[in-house]
């Protein structure tokens, strides 16, 4: 187990190095000039030349890369061209907020999605099942942007139950988490339902029922446990996505997370900020995938990693 984790972490290093190289080169060939974004609409050639020199933008690309990669190895992601703040500090300030939002969305998705899926699978074709699957279909199809605005309109503007946007106490978390989680809830419900239906047809379920176990025990302990693998896959993938790309939700709800930070950085061609956050988010993604793999083993004792 520990050997497995170590091996996976070691394997992640070349991946992350690849990310670093690709991001660096992509930004190098992308149109747009960071210094022009720094100076704003009205610029003078002297200032631009001076800033280019200060930022070492005129160095040959391999040298620039070596300089940057050297910093990364010592844990220094550099400072933002635009704001002058250390990238590490910026990320550490914003990532916990994204983590909070993603976790809330996943908790919602896991509790609602799995419950709906299990209940649907219990009596396929029932009114509840049809309603739930119809709803799930819509939930998958609605763009998050639209869902977000509808939620604001209904719960914040019309009913005035919750604040429309911003960051703060738990009431600020509800709407964005719901908007972000909608797709997962819907997807998980469908996934759980089909996985459950497959398991419910197995011999061991018939045996469990024949033993006289209560339906709740059959569903919860025997069937669900065996249907968990695909569910964990979906949860893991979605969680990874939410941690790294909840840009639209953060924008609509003015949530000060890492998604908006990255978008801002891209718009302003803030190279160190883009590189730093992409690298950081890649690490997050690798870790989430690793955690997912470990959960497989937890859910299904037949899966072993050694």
């Amino acid at each position: 187990m520990i050997a497995f984790v170590l091996r996976r972490l070691l394997l992640a290093i070349p991946t992350l190095f690849g990310v670093l190289v690709v991001v660096f080169l992509l930004l190098y060939i992308a149109p747009g000039d960071p210094v022009m974004e720094m100076v704003g609409e009205r610029a003078d050639a002297e200032t631009i030349a001076r800033l280019r020199a200060e930022l070492r933008l005129d160095d040959p690309v391999p040298l620039q890369f070596a300089h940057y990669a050297g910093g990364v190895l010592t844990g220094d992601l550099g400072t933002s061209y635009i704001t002058g703040r250390p990238i590490t500090r910026d990320i550490l300030e914003r990532f916990p907020k994204t983590l909070q939002l993603a976790t809330a969305a996943m908790l919602l998705a896991a509790s609602l999605g799995i419950t709906i899926g299990v209940l649907s699978a219990r009596r396929p074709g029932s009114a509840f099942d049809r309603l739930a699957m119809g709803g799930a279909y819509l939930g998958i199809s609605f763009p998050v942007y639209w869902v977000g605005l509808i939620l604001i309109l209904v719960f914040a503007v019309t009913l005035r139950w919750l604040p429309p946007s911003g960051f703060g106490r738990v009431e600020y978390l509800v709407l964005p988490a719901l908007a972000l989680g909608t797709r997962s809830i819907a997807f998980l419900a469908r996934m759980t339902r089909s996985a459950m239906l497959e398991v419910l047809g197995s011999d061991f379920i018939r045996t469990a029922r024949a033993k006289g176990l209560r339906e709740r025990v059959v569903l919860g302990r025997h069937a669900l446990r065996n249907a968990l693998i695909p569910i964990i896959t979906v949860l893991g993938l979605d969680f990874g996505n939410y941690l790294t790309g909840s840009i639209l939700t953060e924008t609509i709800f003015s949530w000060p997370g890492i998604g908006r930070y990255v978008v801002n950085a891209i718009a302003r061609r803030d190279l160190p900020a883009i590189q730093g956050s992409v690298l950081f988010l890649s690490v997050v993604f690798v870790l989430v995938n690793l955690a997912t793999d470990l959960l497989y083993a937890k859910a299904d004792p037949r899966v072993r990693y050694d």
Partner: protein
């Protein structure tokens, strides 16, 4: 996806009304900032959110009123030498920085040195370049700026390398704000100034919080604190306004008519002409666009009135030149290019293009600009000007335009300071081709001569006349398609008193505003 927005917002408009009762809070809440300010350090402030925040915390020697007049700030009054080169500023006495240090003339000297010092990496040092010796200091050739001295604690004498009529306006820009002596590395996050608001807290991408400076030399602000929220999405800002969480809303263009026509809403609408020009920079050095008749044809082909009415919510005034009508030098009697397809075709034929021309029109991915670009494309097509739309993200578009790679580029220009010079000089003067803002790469000796002369002309009546003549030359030469001057529209909550729409971005400091 975004097309659903208008329909959705209609629901919002119908479904509810602005908060009717005054909130209990004693904090003014602004919602205009759409992105996190770059910095709170004046030397680095080049973006609008930073400029606004800097105006709350700091003062310059001069400042702008909401209606863009220039007035004394830290300088109580000034004398100008007859040759227009030496400015003697008499400073206000008894002013203190937020940390208690008394403000004296030395701070002006050190602040300006700081902006020009290359290690500060200021992005707007050009504002202070007119000072004698400023460039030498910025290039590390001199150890100090010879053109600025402080003979005593309440006097600063600034010598310019040549007279400059707009100098006092440059001093009201954020970059020229006065900062204390000890500016630590964290200054950009924890600014200390002399302004009406003291900095309290900055939650990145969320809000900035300021507390009133009870000792402000011009009288303390009338509310306890000021919160500038950062809201990226216009629909979200509208929702926040609807529930009464914010006091001021920048009404999105697409919603203008709805806000103007719904009278059940309690909000007060406040409009003001902005110092903002929408135009198409026509690169006068590329292909058929070198011919003035082709450029005029482009101007004749576009129906600006319809675009204004249908796509901009009527929020603007047709441009016949580059000087906004609210500024001195604008010729409001000049007739814009008439929408006349026949005339456009005729001009093209005269220029030797009877079969029309093929060109590119660049625009950014901003929604309003995209829509306007599409409609311009179809107008141009009617006159056989086949424009291929090239949509790029703003930074890429800007870089291409400045490098002279665009035939035509749809963009806007938002004034840094309220003066006709801020339109004529950066947008069209030969010196500023490319990087400086002249994306038309326009170069006309007579125009340059008039503008150069206006920059050193100290008599305002003569200066206005020079502006007018330069503008008229540019209008005839058509180095751009003159579209319109934009009007700002704000919605203000009924419980807010004393808010005036700022014509210039840093002209509203919320000192007079109160909640009732």
């Amino acid at each position: 996806m975004r097309r659903l927005l208008p329909a959705l917002l209609l629901f919002i408009v119908i479904g509810c009304r602005g908060g009717d009762s005054a909130p209990q809070r004693r904090t003014l809440i602004d919602s205009r900032d759409t992105y996190d300010p770059r910095t709170l350090d004046p030397a680095l402030a080049t973006d609008v959110p930073s400029g606004r925040a800097v105006a709350y915390v700091f003062d310059g020697l001069t400042r702008f009123t909401p209606d863009a007049r220039l007035e004394p700030a830290l300088a109580e009054r000034w004398d100008v030498s007859p040759d227009g080169k030496v400015y003697t500023f008499h400073l206000r006495r008894g002013v203190r920085f937020h940390d208690g240090t008394p403000f004296v003339a030395r701070h002006v000297v050190s602040s300006f040195h700081r902006v020009l010092d290359p290690t500060t990496k200021s992005t707007g040092p050009w504002v202070l370049y007119p000072i004698d010796g400023a460039r030498e200091f910025a290039d590390r050739r001199d150890r100090s700026i010879r053109g600025i001295v402080a003979p005593d604690d309440s006097t600063v004498r600034i010598t310019l390398s040549q007279p400059l009529s707009i100098f006092l306006k440059l001093l009201a820009m954020p970059v020229a704000s006065i900062v204390p002596d000890s500016v630590g590395p964290d200054f950009r996050e924890h600014p200390v100034g002399t302004g009406p608001w003291k900095f309290v807290e900055w939650r990145h991408d969320d809000y900035l919080l300021f507390a009133k400076n009870p000792d402000y030399f011009d009288g303390a602000p009338r509310t306890d604190s000021l919160r500038a929220r950062i809201i990226r999405e216009p629909s979200t800002a509208v929702a926040e306004f609807e529930v009464g969480n914010v006091d001021l809303l920048y009404v999105p263009e697409a919603e203008t008519r709805r806000w103007e026509q719904t009278d059940e809403r309690n909000a007060t609408l406040a409009a003001a002409p902005a110092l903002r020009l929408w135009y198409i920079g026509i690169n006068t050095t590329r292909g058929p666009l070198r011919d003035v008749r082709v450029r005029q044809a482009i101007n004749h082909a576009i129906d600006v009135d319809i675009i204004l009415d249908r796509l901009i919510g009527g929020r603007g005034r047709r441009a016949a030149g580059v000087i906004p009508p609210v500024l001195d030098g604008a010729d409001t009697t000049r007739t814009p290019y008439a929408h006349d397809i026949g005339r456009a075709k005729q001009l093209l034929t005269q220029a030797g293009f009877p079969n029309g021309i093929d060109i590119e029109l660049w625009h950014s991915d901003n929604e309003s600009f995209s829509r306007v670009a599409q409609s311009i494309q179809s107008y141009l097509a009617e006159a056989d000007i086949r424009a291929k739309l090239v949509q790029r993200e703003a930074a890429a578009m800007r870089a291409a335009a400045r490098n002279g790679e665009t035939d035509m580029v749809l963009k806007d220009w938002y004034a840094d300071y309220p003066d006709a010079e801020n339109f004529l000089y950066p947008l069209l003067h030969t010196t500023n081709r490319g990087l400086g803002g002249n994306v038309s790469f326009y170069s006309n000796q007579e125009f340059d001569r008039l503008v150069d002369q206006s920059r050193i002309e100290l008599d305002s009546a003569r200066r206005v006349e020079l502006y007018r003549r330069a503008d008229s030359i540019a209008f005839a030469d058509a180095p751009m398609a003159f579209l319109f001057f934009y009007n700002e529209l704000y919605a203000v909550q009924p419980w807010v008193r004393g808010f005036q729409v700022p014509v210039i971005f840093n002209g509203q400091r919320w000192v007079e505003a109160e909640l009732r």
